[in-house]
Amino acid sequence: MVSLLVLSVNFIFADSWPEPPEHDFYAHPLLEISKSKDNYAVGKVIKVIKTDKQSDILSVKITFGASRGQIAEAANYREGFLIDVRPGSRILISYKDNINKATVVDYDRTLSLALLAFLFLLFVLIIGGLNKLGGLFTLFAGIVIIIFVYVPLIIHGYSPLVISLFIVFFITSTIIFFIGKFSRKSVSAIVGTLLSIIFVLILGMIFYPLANINGFSLEPVQFLNYFSKNYSSQPFNNFQQLLFSVLIIGACGVIIDVAVCVASSMEQIVLKRSGISRKELIHYGMNVGRDISSVVSNTLVLAYFGAELVLIISLTVSIRSLTNLFNNEWFFIVVFQTVAGSIGFLLAVPFTAISSGYLMAKK
């Protein structure tokens, strides 16, 4: 049994599997949750009622959930992930039918995350000025749309590629309109951004099939395949398209940044010299873009490296030779996301410069 498991896990970062991949080897907390329909509530610990061998029984005042304000009993089991509970600490509990037979599952982190969100808002508004409120709002609306519209739609079988293209188009347009109001500058920045995103997408659509990328070296993709087959009515199939949408969503932020910078500095020039010719204007825009994009070029590399630091360090264990590394699927995906995103914002410079030239200059 164990040797079976070993072989399966051994090949997590390979394309070929010597043992059936359907094998139920995921010892992941997600599995326990998916098997039982639990209710959740957030509460504050009042006191420890009694202690026995396996667990502490706590008295908890529910602060969020179905029966708010009620005082319930919850057991904090000693096996498993230890949760350090003191009177006054905020915890997450789960229960089936009877809230008095609840179990402590995790700390409650909503308060500190809310504090962080508030700090973020505060700093951006103080340093960036009150007019950033609209931009922030559209940004969060965009993320909310991705999580609560895009994700349910693709689970119900719509094509991830088409939906993500629509949503990225929508998000970029609203964000740019909120930054620059409805003006020629905004329109040309949007044209530049969208053309670059389409280019990144085309690049992905050429290279992913060529290199046989379907994402199955990534643990989340394996989870998705496994759970959608076994715990959901509709199995998920479009893994390559899902990776395309990951690609363009990750790149769109930086592309917006460069396109907006180029378009607004070109608008400044038009305001100063109204008779500037189209050719001169485009030339100026390219010059500005050159400065911007040579600085921005590090951003994506560092952002992806930092975001995946723990994973990268852990993978130095299993990937020890260059042949293995350069042919590894996970490595290809990470490098491709960085490089294609960077190509995207570099191309945003000429695209935006040309579209601004045609929209802003008379001839």
């Binding site: 070929s16 010597p18 964000i175 759970f227």
Partner: protein
Amino acid sequence: MKNFILFLFIELLLCQYIFADVFSKAKVLKIGSSEIKKNVKIENVSLEIISGKHKNKIVDVKNYLWDEKNYNTQIKQNSVVVVAIAENECGEIENVFIRGYVRDKFLLLTVLIFFAVLCSVCGWKGARAFASIFLNIFLLVKVLIPLIKDGYSPLISCSAVALIGAIITIFLIFGFTKKSFVSLCGITAGILFAGITTLIFLKLSKISGIFLEGSRMIITMVRTSDSWKITDFASLIAGGTVIASLGAVIDVVVDVVSGMNSVSISNPDIKKSDLISSGLEIGRDVLGGMLGSLLFVFVSTSLVMIVVYTVLHVPFIRIINWEFFSIVVIQAFISSLAFVVSIPPTVYLMGFISKN
């Protein structure tokens, strides 16, 4: 907990498997007979190894084709695959597994396309940018990862490496001037803010960091091998935030400094307070477009996991309290905050230095 221990046990064994393997490319000479078992078709394939120390040897392997076709390597006559060769003590081939497709030439091609686009858009500045990217990657892979493995505090080593990377990038852009000095001060402020605030918020939300994808493997390595000494996962996550925010911080600081510099050149008699207020104005403009750039990177890295949660109908209140999700939120917000916070110190310092 039982599951957790089981997993550690599995990975202990797994390490031994991994270290024994040699990776090479191999060409398919002939696909022979195949047998079909319950849910698998096993092809008997004869391969010629075309790279590495076992070059030119011919081996017979089995290629497993599962019903679940995503886990297979489809091969044809003359196609090239990557194989893992298990050796015995004498260095002879004991067993060969097909590991997957060959991807290195496509990877190289993407990087070449990037280089071509960089040079055609940015001209000779493109070569400079490429040099700075290359140096940064070298620093991260060859300096940062060994430092962290050797047990130096991850946050401190990440900040130090980030600073060295920033110094290189800034000198490539500005040369040895007072602009570089101001930029580096601003970048330091941003980096320190990112690292310290992440640590504070990880402590506040009681995040241990051991549930991240990858942490399990690191814990196993620390227990089995003397050369791995990573213990502080909170500090490792804070270090990740520092690295993730570095690029955007450099970006904003350079924009502000060069903007203020051109203001004071075109208008030499400008008062200090006017210069500072125009610097803050430039910072505001830059922020507008930047705010989303890192947030979307973090959304995209966690997107597949969000899909998994939604498939399983996990209630939102459970997801938001999950360590993994909280870490992504904390990293995304704080790395975006870092470049916001780096603006005021840069502007004031630039104001003081160029007017005194």
